[in-house]
Amino acid sequence: MNTDLRFSALKRTPFHSRTSLASRTNKWYTWNGFTVPTEYSTLELEYTAARNGTSVMDLTPMGKYEITGDDAHSFVDYLVTRDLSEMKDNTVAYIIWCNEDGKVIDDGTVFKYSSKKFMLCCAVKIYNWLNDSAEGFNVNIADVTDTIAALSLQGPTSCSTLKNYGANDLENLAPFEMKEFSINGYQVLISRTGFTGDLGYELWTDPQNAETAWDSIFEAGKHLKIRPFGMHALEMTRIEAGFIQTNTDFMAAEDALRPIRMRSPYEIGMGWLVHFKKKKYFIGKKALKYEKENSTTERCLVGLDIDGDKPAHGSVIYNAKKQDIGIVTAAMWSPTMKRNIALASLKRPYGIKIKENIFAEIYHPEEIEYRKIWAKCKVVKRQFYSPERRNKVPADLYE
């Protein structure tokens, strides 16, 4: 394989030899400068693997930043809106961070090794933001995106697959915990985290172990319905789980061209991650406090249960079929739940105080024509899918 970057426009992940072999469709996309598959075989099969077996996704392109130094813990606590002052070693936390106006820049996860070492993972590149924010803290920030190979294994048989692979006692790892394993002579960090709302794990290892890890894992899971899984199937599972996607469900504050498109945590259903009880200052605190105390929140992000079976992609949402009150940001027919679901950004009080008489205007494509459907919507919890096994300890095992 020619690895000289002058001959390729996009970077290849350490799993590339395996992902390209698994790709039956040649459907790829760019993620942070890497090329990774959108689909390997068919969307339906990949989605089904995530819900009934084990799905494997190459997570390497995800932005990964190592934060080390004496002030690492207080810096991370200052960076995000969530109170992490009590965060324990070897745990992971879901976080969001805001700019000075209290508008969300991105969401991600933060891994705590010790009070002097953290890793922050997120979809986009934020090295400059971290570096500029670090003024006044004794920390060192390194972009480790290229130096850590990452895989996501999600689905009911994922624990069994990894146990077969060599992760002993993995079933006792609780959600949002992480543990270092020595498998086949190399180190692998496994965290019980994921983006599908089901039982699942993420693996982090040195890129030189990537190919052999991929092979061993597929060998370990071959009787457990293991299957590589691309971005499109991930999109389905994350909508079912009610997880938000930056620049899909809301515009990242750093990317939005129009200031009015920026969203505060309260406007995207992330108010639960804002903790004013934190003693110290955190970025955006002043603005968020103002918003909270003066109830200036303008929008909300809600789950919609929509009549019929036609997905409401990009639909405008109406009050009583008359007044435009928002837009669908993500929609799908959920095969698992047999429900027509969507995430929608609505103008308050719709979605919060007024939940009745809400309609989606769906333009359903039918062979170069469309059918317009007025579908009645029910405002529901955004977390459409959350099986019991997701948080069960010990995790379910299969032979």
Binding site: N99, E100, D132, S133, E135, G136, F137, Y281, K286
Partner: protein, 504 residues
């Protein structure tokens, strides 16, 4: 919490801090000034300052009047040929003086002066008041901004266009368009860039001159004074005022940081560990120190940190003091000339060539000088010299290059004074680094930050922090880093007091 609580603690007993304290205490507020040095006054002393504008009436009235004696100073632009230009701010006499060199320049000078003074008056109206705060979307702030726009528009269409043309212009272009005398060009260019990080050909150097005129009575060469007893006399008068209204002054009290509780400043902690509590804390130090040292980077939003990091506050002026054993002779100068503000800045190119190396933090061998002949208490003469451009953190380190630089300054002066070298008893030299160290002003900038369009009015010191408020509730700023900035007029201190009184 300690039993003793103040309404306001002012950090830094410079003139702005004293004026602010005096106004607050006159409204029966309990005020404490914490001064890091052994004496109050900050940079308002002879060590730093030679010439001052007069304190505006609005400021002196707000503290019950000041009885200060000013000696008006003329300016002499020295020429190697002995054909010096002497200007005193009286337009008729100045016209006659310039006519001797060029009748064209003399007439143009009147037109130029008239135009500049009209513009500086327009800006001046805006300078006396607190600036609008652009980031809080309040109607009254927009109204203020509108008023400035209206004031400028009221000048008439022609002048409005001229104003728009000039606002970002460099002074060199404007001077070369108007005057043929290179010495006159050099002199006006000198005053445009004095104390700044600009050369005469740098965009924006013209607004610097307008700004200077606005605080010097809208005049180019009038409104320049020496205070009887130096600016120390202003300081002692202010201390007197403060003491009368029961302001407590604590010297050698170096504040380490603000005490922050529930995202509000509730007091200060000194370097010796002492904690003092107050309803408000007012910082008279520069914006960078205020934000990064007092407030603490850990209490700031990233965007604010970025803005403070961008804030330009590197000093470019050094001060050389030559103690003399006798009065030196300057070529073709009489006693009145020696008593004037003597400027060595023969042409625009001379300044620009001198400015060039400073971009690389290097020194020029031919610096621009503004000199002031003084006498100490014993009657012995000394020559106080503002040296431009002497970079902050100069390449090679000041301790290694200082002596050569001093010698090159003296060499320049000897071109105009044949016996200066034999008159020198001793030399003292203060670099911007020294100012930073001795006066706790990061960057050692006279005005706590460049006076340029992006750091003026509602943008001074940084967007979102105008109107004397910082990003931390309860912490205010009253120093030269705030609108309208440096120049020893005390407007910042006065305006800040008004804002604090509104909140107390």
């Amino acid at each position: 919490m300690s039993e003793k609580q103040y309404d306001a603690i002012i950090i830094g007993g410079g003139h702005n801090g004293l004026i602010c304290a005096s106004i607050l205490s006159k409204k029966n507020k309990k005020v404490l000034i914490c001064e890091a040095r052994e004496t109050c006054g900050g940079m308002a002393n002879q060590e730093i300052i030679n010439y001052v504008p007069s304190i505006p009436n609005s400021v002196s009235q707000s503290i019950g009047g000041l009885n200060l004696k000013y000696n008006s100073k003329g300016t002499i632009a020295l020429s190697e040929s002995g054909k010096h230009i002497r200007l005193i701010g009286n337009l008729h006499l100045d016209h006659a003086t310039i006519s001797k060199f060029s009748t064209q320049d003399a007439d143009r000078y009147l037109q130029f002066h008239d135009k500049m003074s009209q513009f500086s008056k327009t800006l001046g109206k805006f300078m006396m008041d607190s600036p609008p705060r652009i980031m809080n979307n309040s109607l009254s702030d927009y109204a203020k901004l509108l008023k400035l726009g209206l004031n400028v528009r009221m000048l008439g269409k022609k002048k409005f266009n001229e104003f728009a043309r000039m606002i970002g212009l460099n002074i060199a272009d404007e001077l070369e368009d108007n005057f043929e005398s290179t010495l006159l060009q050099g002199l006006i260019a000198h005053d445009s860039v004095l104390g700044s990080n600009l050369g005469p050909r740098s965009p924006g150097s013209l607004i610097n001159l307008l700004y200077r005129m606005a605080i010097h009575g809208n005049s180019l060469f009038g409104g320049i004074y020496e205070m009887d007893g130096g600016s120390e006399s202003l300081i002692s008068a202010l201390i007197e005022k403060c003491k009368k209204s029961n302001v407590e002054i604590k010297t050698s009290a170096f504040v380490k940081n603000c005490i922050v509780e529930d995202d509000k400043a509730i007091g200060v902690e000194l370097h010796n560990g002492e904690k003092i509590f107050a309803k408000t804390v007012i910082s008279n130090t520069d914006p960078r120190s205020t934000y990064f040292s007092l407030l603490g980077a850990q209490n700031l939003d990233t965007d604010v940190k970025r803005r403070i990091k961008h804030h330009r506050s590197k000093g470019r002026v050094a001060k050389l003091t030559l103690k003399l054993n006798k009065m030196p002779e300057f070529n073709d100068c009489d006693e009145i000339d020696l008593n004037s503000r003597m400027v060595i800045s023969p042409s625009i190119d001379y300044i620009e060539e001198n400015f060039n190396p400073s971009k690389f933090d290097k020194l020029s061998s031919e610096p621009v000088l503004e000199m002031c002949m003084k006498k100490d208490e014993a009657g012995a003469p000394f020559l106080d010299i503002q040296v431009q451009y002497a970079p902050y953190k100069a390449h090679g380190g000041w301790e290694n290059i200082k002596n050569d630089y001093i010698n090159s300054i003296i060499k320049i002066i000897s071109k105009y004074s044949s016996n200066i070298e034999s008159c020198i008893d001793s030399k003292a030299f203060i670099t911007p680094d020294d100012i930073e160290q001795d006066y706790h002003i990061s960057g050692g900038h006279w005005h706590h930050g460049e006076i340029q369009i992006d750091q003026l009015f509602m943008l001074r010191p940084i967007p979102g922090a105008a109107q004397y408020k910082t990003h931390l509730d309860g912490l205010y700023m009253c120093g030269a880093g705030t609108h309208p900035g440096g120049g020893m007029h005390g407007i910042s201190g006065k305006n800040a007091a008004k804002v604090v009184l509104g909140d107390l």
